[in-house]
Symmetry: C2
Subunit: 865 residues, 2 copies
């Protein structure tokens, strides 16, 4: 397929050098923001990926036909076509970009001898063996020093159709990486010792995709970019990653070249499904006619939602210049082109209308709609691992990535690889089980999930798993369990009436900490201290049914970790010891049990429980409920673990069942699988949700000891725990949980895991955390596991949940590509258990810089007042 | 590949006829239980499907090698190998079963000249054109009359290796359907006018799979069945259904023959994924070596969880008898065989241990564990549309289908096609979005879902969608909405304190109906009348915060629909008119608004509201909450729609916001998309969940009018609705809902839909329903939409929720393949919106029969007492 249409050349060596300079920067990847993702692409014109169901199905012919159709489609104004071949093997003999470079001028002249066109073709990185093969290039003379086995040898060629200076259409062809052997890129890269990392491929692709942007102004000019993959959809790229995974961060709309041969229906459908279960939108399928009408079953499978176009049979004669075939195919390519243009327009239209529509019909939770004008609505086009891809309207629109630093309400954990794994396994589970009835039944995902829970976060104490849908329901169940256990242990408090119903003159209450949060259903609310969330106007039925204690808090300030003991506890000023610590580890040290502070905690708690647990009194403490170590929604408050440990001990001594609400803290959020490990004590009941499924689907579980379970076993169904939700232990949620639980605790898949220690390595740079804690605008800092939180200094009049003081800071961080949400005057960043510490560092650096600006702004403002 | 190893034949015509008789019944499908699924297969020995990534990859060679390995693996005892080729094209020239029939004796003799074997090959149904081509058969003489273009021409051959009467190993080869043209079965079927329906293929396959059962006794004999598909995994079968969809009801474990060629990695991975997202377990991949080491990236993709075996390169010479190749491949096939055997053993082991494990670590909701011994636990291996596949231990174990007639706690709706569609779209959505933050954001599935809800169940009244996770949370949100609306409309009831917090001296209550159920979280519980679910021992915090009215109920008894008006309403005995109806439709007639019963309802309700809504009083009705038409958990109680309509009107007249709890009734459960359509009035707020996602994943929504929404808009965040769950509007749930909502209301996909009427056709045979209502053991019957319910007559001492009276009846129905669960003495069957009425009929007939037996049993028992 290598031809020399040299008659078209207007090639000059001088010219070549000038242009090379112009394009050279493309061949040397910039100092890549390797860690904070910078994936983005324009929406100023359509960009499509051309995939194929297999190798040898005529992908390049489709690219060529499409390119010609696109260039010819605009008869009045010049158009631009950017063709990118990221990975090319068999080079230089095979070069798809060279094929387009040669063929398209031919087609244009064939159709219209008056055509004008400026065409160029550049090969940016060439393996040394491939470069040696290329004729007319003297390696030592032209090549620059090789990088990872590649060189930029200035392979640039250019030609012009038509006369003089007239600005005509433009064809820009780029091959990003080329290898000599005509085999799969991963093999060629290995054999030719010319490797390229996925991140480099993506970075260079990003820059190639920028070529068409803005250059044509805002006229009616046609611009289109095509990215042609190598081999089939799941053929490995150079690093070995499957191409459908490699290019996923861009999630470009796709054209699939199908297989018209015998057996081709199956291959085409399977390839379509591989793209689909990676989140790609396939806009059209195009295939060569082999007389088998493969399009008929394909259309039936697609329920006519995706067009299938049929190309005439391709001549097999290698000497055929294909002009006739391109003529015959013209109408098909024009149709395909139209499909692509209109799909692009529809997408743009939808992206643009989404904020307004959302504002009109959504009722967002925890949101004052009056404060969210249309322009504040974020359009999320997709997510890939820890990153959102959002639509931005500026510069003709673009799709750009942001780090989801609020972890989408603390649910997120998966990296890109786990996300794809979850997607496939959710597909499998939905196909195998959908959802099936749980009570009295067993099915694999539920059983495996329960096993993993009891071997993991419940290890050493829990013996039963009770599934529900979210943290709030898990808490309601936990309360029912705890109260029953308490009542069974304290039967004296019960009256058994003549009709065998049970009553009591005692009102049961929970012991809980101020600032804690357990969910928004009434039972969970009632276990919380009064707050703006719980007012009469929010829920007239709320009555805080608890004894709410003031906890001792810990945080870093000016580089020092320090405990703040509330007045109630320290009313007699007994604390003499220093409550500051050299390191965070010290705070968690078990030896603190012997400190005088431990005794002070103990006597304070005893006193409180004494006051509230006398059976003579109307109210009785029937359960303890705490968020171990960190009270999340309360403002990322770190509670002194010693205080919580003493509290647990005192309750268990009094047979008050202990509930750990690990909805937020569970599954590595705090650097360990269960936050109970940090407290060094075990509950009777614990609730998990959020991260349990890898942040993909709601599922919650309440774990309990055998003693708790036994208090529901008896001869009457009425003694059973009569609480259930339709989707109890739904297969999808359990399957997602099985995947995630295993993924996070396997050092093969989670590089952050310190083997044997069941601990994540430090994700937030200790030095930088310290530096931030010195910022005068910062009141306190907490960093633990995947969490980094900062409480901003606020004047009294700004305080409270409704405080908007952090908003300007967060808006700037969003511009930096970090999506955060405030908790009043507390801002936080949360990564996943697998997020590389380098990304955390980058975010921390960005925050550090922005916080310094913020401080100066505050000073300025203070002066103004 | 057609060879004549006739030297092996010990063929005799006499013998052939005898055996034909033996096998003949296989060729004529029995009067198939076409409607109540009878899909099942044995677990007495391994059965595998052999799939391929493409055509021409050597699937039959793999079957042959495996078969030989299996037969040879047991040197001491005879073994049996059943090979089934369901669909064969290119017949008789191509016949894969004939290939095995010829080749395996060759291999056996080659390995060991003393081998003994009884081999047979039968082709059951042959298209007329294919039959005409077959040599030596006289059509008019041998053929029986053709059926759907097929005939059974007695194509049976048999041969024996070894001497005399010794019982050796056995090879049984079957081709189920054969066509002449060497093209895809769907094309061949069309061109040769020989069609076969999917249900016939499945029925015949089921019978072929029975061949190996039991015949070898319980010795250590090796039995294996192989089912070889045609072409690639997603190649169409004869009806046009993709084979991976066609065979899905059996969900046999699978071997995938991959592609070792250039581009083959992609095709193999895609094929693997197509199987996976249909719920198949691929146990191993096997591929031919082409020197490209395709197994390396495949293993990396599979994370070494699935073995990939490599076969030596296959000789291309058509005259090669392949003996050398089979020799070289022997160890690979032996390994593959081992993998298959051990995977089978693991599966059996797991299926057997599951009930015990489940019993040890699950805590089932609403279940008294003491009543569920190990043998009562149902192991659900998978579901396909409306059917479970369950493991039964009898007869060496089998997997058999049951109709999920409790719709898995009323969540289910999908048929098999929708389930696969949902699986694919859930995969896509998980890959594209995972879950992303909802507040202040917009993404496609959430927006489309909200649009569909407002255009569908909310049409004409709702303007906002508030997402949550389940019915219970949706209700808690609805209550918060309703109370706020009420308070805003009745500001006079509020005290605004000095610090701007809002209080009230009024206690707000709900108006609700006795027997209603709204969920198990405390807020939802408090909106229900006291019941065994709500006792102190269950939830000490429960206080029924409602005015609970007695509803008028409707049901059929002795063939007549009749209203039962409670005493409270009819205290003055004013009802003179007849309260029975000729048809169910009459009950829903709007003209009843003018009846005297309407006035009686109206004055009863006015009086109740008057009593409870005076602002002088301590309590005030702040919301009405009802389950429209059917109170589900209360025992499938049908409430007089007139009563509910009058109640709604009276409340709305008094500015008491009206909540419809459509968690159970919504989305076609009652034959219309929203039960509000049956009531002929609209709420201010409505809750949906369960069937909304097609019963695959938890998602709930609370819809509200604009007026309700406006009562939360203001200048303070504290005025907003501060209630949220982590996975609010999660993308997976919304995507599933979009799919299901559209699927159920599209007559292209839902054949039960009466176009233009937005109504499902009658699913439960009216005559049979009437007959059942005459059964003396039956107290009342309700049939509406997808629901059919029967209340059994019980003596007083048996009554109540804990009643176990229905258990024996339900156990028998489970033996009949109908999985039901009781609600006390109420039993019900629930189908999906797309379930064919023939299936409902079949179930109803079964129930009718069992009810008659039940009645007689009861009579017997009564006599004994």
């Amino acid at each position: 397929m290598f031809q020399h249409p040299s008659f078209l050349f207007t090639h000059s060596r001088h010219f070549l050098h000038r242009r090379r300079h112009h394009y050279r920067h493309l061949s040397t990847p910039p100092l890549l923001h390797r860690f904070l993702s910078t994936i983005s692409h324009t929406l100023s014109h359509p960009i499509y990926t051309i995939w194929a169901a297999n190798t040898g199905l005529g992908k390049t012919l489709v690219s060529t036909g499409l390119a010609a159709s696109s260039i010819l489609s605009s008869s009045t104004s010049p158009s631009k076509l950017v063709y990118i071949k990221p990975l090319q093997t068999g080079f230089p003999h095979d070069s798809d970009s060279a094929f387009l470079y040669r063929k398209i001028p031919q087609i244009l002249l064939h159709r219209n001898p008056q055509s004008t066109l400026l065409a160029s073709n550049q090969t940016l990185n060439v393996s040394i063996p491939a470069a040696k093969l290329k004729v007319g290039i003297n390696l030592s003379d032209e090549g620059q020093s090789s990088k990872n086995g590649f060189g930029d040898f200035g392979y640039y060629e250019e030609k012009k159709l038509g006369n003089g200076e007239e600005v005509g259409s433009e064809l820009i062809c780029k091959t990003m990486y080329a290898w000599k052997e005509p085999i799969s890129p991963h093999l060629a890269a290995e054999r030719e010792a010319a490797n390229v990392e996925d991140s480099d491929v993506l970075a260079l692709l990003k820059r190639c995709l920028e070529i068409g942007v803005g250059s044509n102004g805002n006229g009616g000019n046609t611009v289109m970019s095509l990215v042609e993959t190598a081999g089939g959809v799941a053929s490995p790229g150079s690093s070995g990653s499957l191409q459908c995974d490699l290019y996923r961060p861009f999630r470009l709309p796709s054209i699939l070249v199908g297989d018209g041969r015998l057996g081709g229906i199956s291959g085409t459908i399977s390839a379509y499904e591989s793209l689909t279960i990676r989140g790609y939108d396939v806009v059209a399928i195009v295939l060569e006619d082999h007389g088998l009408q493969n399009e008929v079953p394909l259309l039936s499978y697609l329920r006519n939602r995706v067009p299938v176009l049929v190309l005439p049979s391709i001549p097999k004669d290698p000497l055929n210049n294909l002009m006739e075939w391109f003529d015959e195919s013209q109408s098909v390519f024009d149709s395909l082109n139209e499909v692509m243009m209109s799909s692009f327009q529809e997408r743009i239209h939808r992206l643009q209308e989404m904020p307004k529509k959302a504002q009109e019909i959504f009722w967002w939770p925890f949101t004052q709609h009056k404060f969210v004008p249309e322009e504040k609505v974020t359009v999320i086009d997709s997510r890939c691992g820890e990153n959102f891809s959002v639509h931005k309207v500026k510069n003709d629109g673009c799709i750009t990535q942001m780090f989801d630093a609020c972890a989408s309400w603390w649910t997120q954990g998966p990296n890109a690889a786990l996300q794809i794994k979850l997607a496939r396994d959710l597909g499998y589970t939905a196909a195998r089980f959908g959802h099936v009835m749980f009570p009295e039944n067993v099915y694999e995902p539920a059983l495996e999930c329960a096993e993993l829970l009891l071997q993991g976060v419940g290890k050493g104490w829990a013996s039963r798993a009770y599934f529900s849908d979210n943290g709030s329901t898990a808490i309601e169940i936990a309360l029912k369990m705890a109260f029953r256990k308490f009542l069974v242990d304290n039967e004296v408090l019960l009256d058994i009436s003549h009709d065998n119903t049970v009553e009591s003159s005692i009102e049961l209450k929970v012991v809980a900490l101020k600032g804690s949060y357990h969910g928004d259903t009434l039972g969970a609310m009632d276990a919380q201290a009064p707050s703006p969330y719980t007012g009469f106007f929010q829920q007239p039925w709320y009555t805080g049914r608890g004894f709410f204690l003031d906890p001792s808090l810990v945080s870093m300030h000016d580089g020092v970790w320090k405990i703040t003991v509330p007045e109630n506890i320290n009313s007699e000023n007994l604390i003499l010891e220093d409550t500051s610590f050299k390191s965070r580890e010290e705070i968690f040290n078990k030896s603190r049990d012997d400190s005088s502070l431990a005794s002070i905690y103990s006597s304070y708690i005893s006193q409180e429980l004494q006051l509230n647990s006398g059976s003579r009194k109307f109210s009785h403490a029937g359960a303890l409920i705490i968020e171990p170590v960190i009270q999340g929604a309360g403002g990322m408050l770190m509670v002194d673990p010693l205080f919580q440990r003493v509290l647990v001990k005192e309750c268990q001594n009094r047979k008050i069942p202990v509930i750990f609400d690990e909805v937020f803290t569970g599954f590595w959020r705090l650097g360990v699988e269960s936050a109970a490990e940090l407290l060094l004590c075990q509950p009777d009941i614990a609730c998990f949700a959020k991260l349990m499924t890898g942040g993909v689907i709601p599922l919650a579980v309440t774990l309990a000891t055998n003693d708790v379970f036994e208090s529901f076993v008896g001869d009457s169904k009425l003694k059973a725990l009569l609480h259930g939700h339709s989707y109890s232990a739904h297969a999808l949620g359990c399957a997602a949980a099985c995947n995630s639980i295993k993924w996070f605790k396997d050092s093969q898949t989670n590089p952050n895991l310190i083997p044997q220690q069941n601990l994540l390595r430090e994700l937030w740079d200790t030095k930088l955390v310290e530096k931030i804690s010195f910022n005068p605008a910062v009141q306190r800092v907490v960093s633990l596991g995947t969490l980094f939180a900062v409480e901003l200094q606020v004047e009294d009049y700004e305080a409270g949940y409704a405080s908007l003081c952090a908003t300007s800071l967060l808006l700037k961080l969003r511009e930096d590509g970090i999506y955060m949400r405030p908790l009043g005057n507390v801002i936080y960043m949360m990564c996943g258990p697998c997020t590389p510490p380098q990304i955390c560092l980058k975010m921390l650096q960005t925050l550090y810089t922005r916080l310094n600006e913020f401080r100066h702004e505050k000073v300025e403002k203070a002066r103004e007042i």
